[in-house]
Amino acid sequence: MWRHIIIRLALCPVILWAIYTITFLMAVTIPGNPFKMSDRNLSPDVERAVMAIYKADDNWAFYWQYLDHLFQPVKALRGEGPLIDLGPSWQYRDWTCNQIVAAALPVSVGLGMTAMFLAVVLGVPIGVISAVKRNSWFDYTSLGLALIGISLPTFVTGTALLILFAVKLAWLPVGGWGGISQLWLPAVTLSLPFMAYIARLTRLGMLDVMASDYIRTAQAKGLPPRTVIWKHALKNAFLPVLSYLGPASAAALTGSFIIESIFNIPGLGQHFVAGVLNRDRAMILGTVLVYSAVIVVFNLLVDLTYTVVDPRIDLEES
């Protein structure tokens, strides 16, 4: 168990390095750079000098320098700089990527986590009730709603919710960031597809589990149905949901930039899109690395929780 955790942890930097390299290779292919697109009409000499400072003139020098500066435990211990240095932004010359990410990441993470929380807290009970009351009106209604959640792009559902709750009913603010009231609409919109999928996974899992022998035993020994369903059955039916949570959380985090754009939320997604459109290589690498780090850690956490929930699963073998 511990050996496995250590191996997995040691692999994380390797995975991130591979992601860094892939992203770098693609970012290099994008033609143009913000130094040349400047409307200030710099003289060629000045332009060359500026590009040399940012290592924009030599791709591989940039690659190694960025990698070298990325993780600096020694400097951080001495208090001379940040532990992780994403470098200066190419487009916003007065900002470092660290500052931009530090301002935007908590917003994206907060939104994503709230959405995932809503998705689990609402999706799992919906799935359980749908399974227990199979083919009832509740089952069909929730299935219908779930399918709408999966089948419509979030910018449509988001706008619909926005019009209904913020404009027509005026219960909630239209957009912005800062208060709990501003969190509701974007979080619900973001959670819909995940909630739908979790509800369906839970329903399928419950239908499978409820037919098994140990549930019949639990019922036969006279346990109240509530205990059987929510304690005995759900524990096993939850496993597929658990393995879905890793990729889902990652998707909630990275998919949030559509939502951020609808509700005017200052999250990380806009910086990535702007980074690509501005050819801001440092920003592209910085955002991708941050996103990927979160995804890698999430996948790891989910794998580890798996062994806690189901001790039969032996990670060493798989």
Partner: protein, 319 residues
């Protein structure tokens, strides 16, 4: 359970004993939602592709006098007009062709790459498998929407140059759509590769493959003649489920303004245009509702059909 005719004639074919090859399609037709979905999807596809001759001419015609006019039958505009006075009905039909085309192309790419990748990794196993699947893991770690955006922006100019050299100048629009196919297809093969690899691993251990090997058949023949037919099921299922994913991803790109180029519509870009046209004073609901309903209905049908197909090819899953 309701149709008992089949069970009385063939009592030995219970769910548990039915093999993948025996009357699998009966299971599909008994699935009412999948059957209805197939019919609805058929109608949508027929409407989009059948009117292509007209819609290809009409989709970009602007009539500025008609801008933002609500749905009406005379002149024929049942879905109304958009901001530039273009007939949304024709735009929806033509956009359907493009959207479905993107979905199908992405599915085809993911089938080709995913199947090959997964089959090779699963078949050869060992170090090759390890390296190939670690690469899939790494790509899984990359946020896929970011990957699509990067792929599209990075390789679009290169593709334009390439196509210009082959077909002569003026290939921007073709290149734009092709790069969308490639970018979306290029990220959607990962799940397929994992599924196929798992399938190959479990098939490899089965006696009939062992027998084929013992008979001395070359690997290529075993792969094509014995493995591939058994992989058709999961390939079809996941390809069906890739199509709606791809259509949805294109709509996100359109919303961000990096999807299909301006006059060419897709359902996603039409819905995105409609969403952006909404303001608090007047809601031009027809600009959002019609493309969204078509998009949602198609995705719904594809998901239902995918589920139905899964029941056909994987008799073990209970519903």
């Amino acid at each position: 359970m309701t149709t008992t005719v089949g069970t009385t004639i063939e009592p030995e074919l219970t769910d548990a004993t039915r093999s993948a090859g025996s009357h699998p399609w009966k299971r599909f037709w008994r699935n009412r939602s999948a059957t209805v979905s197939l019919i609805v999807l058929g109608i949508i596809i027929f409407a989009c592709f059948g009117t292509l001759m007209i819609s290809a001419k009409e989709y970009h015609v602007q009539d500025l006098n008609a801008n933002r006019q609500p749905p009406q039958l005379i002149p024929f505009a049942p879905f109304g007009y958009d901001i530039l006075g273009r007939n949304i009905f024709w735009r929806c039909l033509f956009g359907g062709v493009v959207s479905l085309g993107i979905g199908l192309a992405a599915a085809a790419i993911s089938v080709i790459i995913g199947t090959l990748w997964g089959a090779v990794a699963g078949w050869y196993g060992g170090r090759i498998d390890n390296i190939m699947m670690r690469l899939v893991d790494v790509l899984y770690g990359l946020p896929y929407i970011l990957l699509i955006i990067l792929l599209k922006i990075a390789f679009e100019p290169k593709l334009i140059r390439l196509l210009d050299r082959i077909f002569g100048p003026g290939q921007e629009r073709t290149a734009n759509i092709v790069i969308l196919f490639l970018a979306i297809g290029g990220v959607s093969w990962l799940t397929m590769a994992r599924v196929i690899r798992g399938q190959v691993l479990s098939l490899k251990a089965q006696p009939f493959i062992e027998a084929a090997r013992a008979l001395g058949l070359p690997a290529r023949k075993i792969l094509l003649r014995h493995l591939l037919p058994n992989l058709v099921g999961p390939i079809i299922v996941y390809a069906t489920l890739t199509v709606p994913q791809a259509i949805l991803q294109e709509s996100f790109l359109s919303f961000l303004g990096i999807g299909v180029q301006a006059p060419v519509p897709t359902w996603g870009s039409l819905a995105a245009e409609g969403v952006k046209a909404i303001n608090t004073v007047v809601s031009f609901w027809w600009m959002v509702v019609f493309p969204s309903v078509l998009l949602g209905l198609t995705l719904l049908c594809l998901n239902f059909i995918g589920d139905g197909l899964r029941d056909v090819f994987d008799p073990k899953t209970k519903r």
